[in-house]
Amino acid sequence: MILDWLPPTLIGVLLVLAGIGAIRRMNLWRAGQAEKVDFLAGLFAMPKRYLHDLHHVVERDKYMSRTHVATGGGFVLAMVLVVFVHLFGVKNEILAWALLAALVLMFCGALFVYKRRMNPPSRLSKGPWMRLPKSLLTFSITFFVLTLPAAGILPEGTGGWILTLVLSVLILMSLSEMLFGMTWGGPMKHAFAGALHLAFHRRPERFGGGRSTGLKPAALGEASHGVAKPTDFKWNQLLGFDACVQCGRCEAVCPAFAAGQPLNPKKLIQDMVVGFAGGTDKKYAGSAYPGVEVGNAKGAPDQIITNGLISSDTLWSCTTCRACVEECPMMIEHVDAIVDMRRFLTLEKGETPNKGAQVLENIIATDNPNGYSPASRTHWAADQNLNLMKDVKQADVLFWVSDGAFDMRSQRILRAFVKLMKAANIDVAILGDEELDSGDVARRLGDDAAFQSLAKRNLATLSKYSFKTIVTTDPHAFHCLKNEYGDFGSDALKGVEVLHHTTFLNRLVKEERLQLDTFKGGKVTYHDPCYLGRYNGEYEAPRELLASLGIDVAEMERSGYRSRCCGGGGGAPITDIPGERRIADMRMEDVVSTGAEMVAVGCQQCTAMLEGVVEPRPVVKDIAEILVSQLAEEVNS
C-alpha cells in the first residue's frame, strides 16, 4: 500500500503541532505574575481532583456528567491507545480491542453531546462549540474504522488506498480539532488547560470538600496596585481562565446578568482570555454583556483591561455572590479576578463609581461606611445592659455588632439577638466604640488599603481581650473575621471560634437553653445569604432553627448553594450600576412564588435589600427576630 504511511504521519505531525501549541500557550500563561505552586503535588492530585471535585460539580447536571465521562474518558483513553497502535504501530490485538471499546464509549458520549447541541440552552456558547460534537463523532468513527484491521476484524488493506485517503482526511479534520485545537485555542483547549488548571489551582484548599473563599490580600506600596493588564494576574489565574468550557452555568446563575446589568461571568472569563492571548472578541459566540454589543472588545497582554477590553461597569455590577464560582465545573475564580481588577480602579485610578468614593472616604475618616460619628456606635445599646470588653476584659462570647449598630432597622435584629442571649444566660460582651467596620465593603470595592488598615486595627483591639467565641449577626463581618483576618499575622483569633448567630443560636436550642413556642404564623420561606451559605457553607443551622419553631420552610427553587443573591453584596448597592431591573425585586419574586407570607433571613443587608422592594410584599425578618417573638415567657419559681 502506497499510502500506509499517511495516517501515522498525520497523527505524528498533529501531535508535534499540538506540542508546539502547548508550549506557546504555556508561555502566554507564564506572562502572568509569579505565584508559588506545588507542581508535583498538584500534578499527582490532578486525576483525583478531576474525578472527584470537578465531577462533583458537573454531577449537578446528571445528563452532562455522564456524557462527559463517556466522551472525555473515552477520548483520553482512545488517544493514548491511538499513539501506541497507530503511531508506534504496536501490533497487539488486545490494545486494538481496547481502543475500539474506548472509541465506542466516546461515540456514545458524543451522540449525547450532539443531542444537547441540537437545541442548546442560551447559556451555552455556539460557534466552534457547535462543531465539537461532529468532530468527536468523526474522531471516533474514523479511528474505529482505522483500527478494525489492527483488531483483526478486517483484513489488512481493506478498502485500498481510497479508504486510507478518506480516513486520512477525516483524521486530519478530527485530530485538528482534538489535538491542534486543544493547544491552539479551539474548544478542546479546555481539556488541556483544564487539566493543568486543576493541578495548579490557586486555591488547592477547595479540593477534597474544602472551602476557600477569603480574598487574597493585595500587596501595598508597590509601583501599582491591583490588576491593570492581563499580565498583572498570577500565571495560574490566566491558566484558569483558559480552562473555561463556556458551559455558561455561571451566566445562568448570575444575578447581575439576570437583572440586565452589563455583566456576564462567562463573557468576562472569555474576555480575560482575549486579553492575555491578544485579539478581539469577534469570535465569541455566547451571550453578550446585557446591553453591550459583542465584537468591539480588543485586548492585549499589556493593555489596560478597562481601556477597550471590558468596561468598568461590568466589574462594578458584580455582587460578589459567588454563585458563578460555586457553579463553575472548572472551578474558575471569577470573584478573585473581578476584585483584582477593581483594586486597580480604586487604588490606582480613583474611579469607584457613584457613592463608592464617598463611602470609602467615610470608612477612612470614621471607620463606618455612612460617616456616622464613631462615638455613636454604641448608642443603640444604651438600654441593653451589655458588658463592654473594655471593662470586663474577658467573656465567653464576644458579640461582634457590626455597622448595623448605626441603622435603625438593623438595630431591631441586634436587640432581638441580645434578648435571646440574655434568655440563655450567655456571658457576653461587646467591643462598643472600639469596634470598627469589618472592612468588608472597602475590600469588595477594591480598597484593600482601607480594608487592611481596619483589619489590623480590629485585630489589635481583639488581641487585648480574652474570649472563646465571636458571634455576629452580620455574615459579611463573619466572613472577614473567619476567613480573611487570618492573613495579617495576628494571634488575636487563634483558638477562637467565629460563629454566625444562627449557628450559635442553633446550638443553644439544641442544648435546650432557649425555650421556644411553636410558630403559628403563615407560610415561611428562607433566603440563604451568600456570605453565610456559599462563602461559609452554613445552610443547615437557619433551617434547623426554623424547624425547631415548627416551621416547615417552603423552599424557593433557588435555595441553598444555588440561592440567588439579594443584590446587597460586593458594594453593588453603592456602585449601583443600572440594569433593566433590580436584583432584589427578582429575589422577592422568588419568595412570592413560594406563597410565603414571610421570608426569614440571616443578614441585615439582605433584610435591607428585600425590604427595599416596593410593597405589598411578604414580611422580611431576621431569624433572631422570629425566634425572639417565640421566646417562651420564663416561669420564675
Binding site: 496596585h225 487604588l347 490606582e348 485610578k349 480613583g350 472616604e361 475618616a365 460617616g371 462615638a375
Partner: protein, 258 residues
C-alpha cells in the same frame, strides 16, 4: 482654555465633622479639582504646615505628581510664608477654600493674601468659565443654586464654594508615590493666637420663641398653638382645595414661593 495658566491651589488639613479626624478638606479638595480642570498636570498644590501630615497623601491621590510643602510648626502662621512663596511664583490664579476646617477657620487667609499681594479676590466661586487676555470669567455661587457672573483680571485669588465641582476620588497608589517637595522656609509663630483660650464648642442654646403676649387673646393663642416641630399636622377630612391651600400657605410662609 488657553494653553497655559499658572494655577496654585492651597490646601489645608480638614476635619471630619463627625469623627473630628483629619481629612482632605471639602473646599480645598474642590480648589484642587478646579485647579486640575484649569491647568491639568501643571497645577501647583501648596500646603503650609506639617510635611509629615498623612492627609497630604489624600490630596496627592487626586493625581498630583508632586505637592509643595512650606513647613510650619503647629502654632505657625501660614500667611508670611505663603505670601513669600506666591510672590516668587508665576501664579496667575490662586485657589483656596472659603474657610479652613481646622484652626481658627476664619476664612481671612485668602483676603490677607490678596491684600498683601495687591491682587483682587473673588469670593465663593462655583466655576471658572474662561481665562483669556488677562481676565477670567468666573461664576460666583449665590444661595439657592443661583449664580453671578463676574470678570476679574489676572492674577487673582478665588475662594472655592461648596457649589463647585466635587473633588475627585483620591487614589491610594498615586497618593503614596507622589513627591513631596518640602521647601526650606522659616516657621513664623502666630503670637495672637497664643493668648486665646480654645475649648470644645459649647452647644448654643436654641432661641426660644418667647411670645410677648400683649393681650389675653394673644396669650391664649400662644398657649394653645401647636408647638412647632413636635410632630406634624395631618389633614385627612378637608377638601382637596383646603389641603392644597394649607400646603400653599406653608410654601408662602417658608418663602419658597414668593
Amino acid at each position: 482654555m488657553p494653553p497655559k495658566v499658572n494655577v496654585v491651589s492651597l490646601v489645608s488639613v480638614g476635619r471630619h465633622p463627625q469623627s473630628g479626624r483629619s481629612r482632605r478638606a471639602e473646599q480645598d479638595g474642590r480648589a484642587v479639582e478646579l485647579g486640575l480642570k484649569l491647568s491639568k498636570k501643571s497645577l501647583t498644590v501648596v500646603h503650609a504646615g506639617d510635611s509629615q501630615e498623612p492627609v497630604l497623601r489624600q490630596y496627592a491621590g487626586m493625581g498630583l505628581d508632586s505637592l509643595t510643602v512650606l513647613p510650619q510648626a503647629a502654632d505657625g502662621d501660614a500667611l508670611p510664608v505663603l505670601v513669600e512663596f506666591l510672590k516668587n511664583s508665576k501664579a496667575q490664579v490662586v485657589l483656596t477654600g472659603v474657610r479652613a476646617e481646622s484652626g481658627e477657620s476664619s476664612g481671612m487667609l485668602p483676603y490677607l493674601l490678596a491684600e498683601q499681594l495687591g491682587w483682587p479676590l473673588v469670593p465663593r466661586v462655583a466655576e471658572i468659565l474662561t481665562i483669556k487676555e488677562g481676565a477670567a470669567e468666573v461664576l460666583l455661587a449665590l444661595p439657592r443654586g443661583q449664580r453671578r457672573s463676574v470678570i476679574v483680571s489676572l492674577p487673582f485669588i478665588a475662594t472655592v464654594d461648596n457649589a463647585a465641582a466635587e473633588a475627585r476620588q483620591t487614589a491610594f497608589g498615586p497618593g503614596l508615590r507622589a513627591d513631596l517637595k518640602v521647601l526650606n522656609v522659616e516657621s513664623v509663630t502666630d503670637d495672637a493666637m497664643a493668648t486665646w483660650q480654645i475649648s470644645a464648642a459649647k452647644p448654643r442654646p436654641k432661641r426660644l420663641k418667647v411670645v410677648k403676649a400683649k393681650t389675653a387673646a394673644d396669650r391664649m393663642k400662644a398657649a394653645t398653638a401647636k408647638p412647632v416641630g413636635g410632630g406634624g399636622k395631618v389633614m385627612k377630612n378637608e377638601t382637596a382645595a383646603e389641603k392644597a391651600q394649607a400646603i400653599f400657605d406653608l410654601l408662602l410662609e417658608e418663602k419658597v414661593v414668593r
